[in-house]
Amino acid sequence: MFNILEKYTPMMGMGGGGGMGGGGGMGGGSCYVYPDAPATPGEVTPDISFNRGIYMNGSMTMDDGRSVTIWGFTDGGGMGGMGNQFPSPAIRAMEGQVVHTNLNVEGMMWLHTIHHHGIEPSQENDGVGHYSFDVDGTYTYQWKASHAGTYFYHCHTNTVLHAEMGMYGALIIDPPEGPGTLFSGGPTYDVEAIWACDEIDSSWHNLNWDAGTCGGDVGLNSLNPDYFIISGVDGAQSALTDPAVAVTMNAGQKLLVRYITAGYLPQRINFGGLTATVHMSDGRALPKPVQVTGLETCAAERYDCIFEPTTAGVYEVTVDYLDWVTGDVVGTARTRINVN
């Protein structure tokens, strides 16, 4: 259906002028990428649409004062558009809706895609390199939200690098009842938190978008993270109090934590003495909800956890990031559930 170029060397020599200050410049030619931006098959008028541009000159200041380059998606599609949010702005739709995600990669100096992880659309709309194409202009991903639950979206071009650089955001499908209900027939909630737990290897964060695609050892087999974050907030200290992560609620309320394993390493989350009832994972209801005081997860898993604390207190949640060979803890992020 699509004209997939077998080997692509885009615009050699544009690297000098094309750099975006954040490591986004061309590195002298890419291999095994599949540029295209075709018309969307069977395009219809959507029930809801989202516009996403890209940025490759963002940064995150860590608790130790260092600044690390971050890439991501903008809301609205303009390069200077709606800021450089990290994680990227959430996509939130309702079960049954036909959704358009309009990606604009802002010129042909690099390639990106959006893969709606856990959403299972047609091949053309799955957003994966040579199975569909790497977007070099604009593309409208068309899909239908069939199952309520917690997902995330991320770039699937040179994924090992682009997702690590921060090109991801939450993707939430609400049931027809709307926010406040996890899924039809499932639990309700009063307070919601999205914890996308990720690790950062800052030594990867100065690479070009196409690093390694022509071969050569650029170290992408070896992740040695030095920062451990929750939803774009440093888990060393900031996430303990940052209202984007830390939860404040009243005893008797129901809290939904949408926990997204956004990094590559296994994680072990401990809920600080609270018990969670896990109702869903990966956008599907569990046959029987399970009660846990923590979880051990692997890359890209999602768990939807309901808390109903009855006792006021400060509960410190720890997320240990585990070496994928030894299982040793290589870092920890912390946040809090404050129950009044």
Partner: protein
């Protein structure tokens, strides 16, 4: 290879696994149930040699091969049924000691270099197993001495265990993580001294190639096209995938286009079947069994029944080879016919 001081004759292959040597030569494990137990005989020849990786580098391996002239990593898939008597003859052509182990079922003990040994055992418990060399652990296993061993329920053609969810076709995937420094230490008869640094990632001994690469779609080389790895089906062709980890890394298996039903993990039947798009695979002999249902991709609009999608690990370091080359790692394709 020219500088090799070892006098043995090394085999060299462009890829692991010689498809014609597999017990399951079509890739799909074909299986016809029997009402009665049978005696199954299998011979393995332990050989060594080099396999060329996606970046062109030759890496040393050993394997349970069908004959002295081949190097088959992993070894042939074996499938039997409950009650069968299995006789495995291992002919060790190398100068080093090796063994043949299936946890909980058989352990040959030392098979000295230059000797042969036959182990006989009865299989009683349906499920998915890894056979491997338990000596010099984990090194002999990591350098290729491993393979998939499946036990079907007595008289059943479509269950993982009696009463399980059913399927119409089945595959076995053995994953591995390759540190060429460790492999070379084993070649030289040394214990590796460096920290494990996986540099290539395989399913059934192969890694992915992509359009534009000369080995793309070569079923002997490209894990996206190797018939024992690539999932192919039409709508409703529920497919059991037995996933066995011979390697050292904890993995996260991400299936596109359908969620899978997770039936078992690490030899434990899971009483509640979860639907997952990501499945954890523990390291060092970790295992999971899943059914890929080949349902129409649920979120397609307009609806579709055909397409090609990836299955890849989401610990994305595994999607590289030689420190780069994204999409030349441990992945395969899922083809809706």
């Amino acid at each position: 290879m020219k500088k090799m001081i070892n006098r043995r004759n090394f085999l060299k292959f462009s890829s692991a696994g010689i498809a014609s040597a597999l017990a399951a030569s079509t890739g799909l494990v074909s299986w016809s149930p029997r009402a009665e137990a049978a005696t199954i005989n299998q011979t393995f020849v332990i050989t060594e040699g080099f396999i060329t990786q996606p970046d062109g580098v030759d890496v040393y391996f050993k394997s349970f091969s069908p004959n002295a002239a081949s190097l088959t990593v992993p070894g042939a898939q074996i499938i039997v049924q409950e009650g069968d008597t299995v006789n495995i003859t291992i002919d060790n052509t190398l100068g080093t000691d090796h063994s043949f182990v299936i946890d909980g079922i058989v352990d040959s003990g030392i098979i000295a270099g230059g000797s042969s040994k036959t182990v006989s055992f009865v299989v009683n418990s349906a499920g998915s197993y890894l056979y491997y060399d338990g000596l010099n652990a984990p090194y002999n296993r990591l350098v290729g001495l491993h393979g998939a061993f499946s036990v079907m329920p007595l008289g059943s053609s479509n269950e993982l265990y009696a009463g399980s969810a059913t399927f119409v076709q089945q595959y076995s995937w053995v994953t591995n993580d390759i540190d060429p420094v460790w492999h070379d230490a084993v070649r030289l008869g040394n214990a590796p001294t460096s920290a494990f640094n996986p540099y290539y990632f395989t399913i059934n001994g192969r890694s992915m190639r992509v359009p534009g690469h000369p080995d793309y779609a070569n079923p002997d080389i490209d894990s996206g096209y190797a018939p024992d790895t690539r999932l192919e089906g039409s709508i409703g062709d529920r497919t059991l995938v037995r996933i066995l980890n011979a390697g050292m890394c904890i993995h996260s298996m991400h299936f596109h286009a359908n969620h899978v039903e997770v039936l078992a993990r690490d030899k434990q039947v899971l009483s509640d079947v979860w639907l997952k798009d990501v499945v954890r695979l523990n390291n060092n002999l970790g295992h999971t069994d899943v059914i890929y249902p080949f349902d129409p991709p649920p979120d397609a609009h307009p609806a579709v029944t055909t397409g090609s999608f990836p299955m890849h690990m989401h610990d994305e370091m595994t999607q590289t080879a030689g420190g780069g080359l994204y999409q030349f790692g441990a992945a395969t394709s899922i083809k809706f016919k």
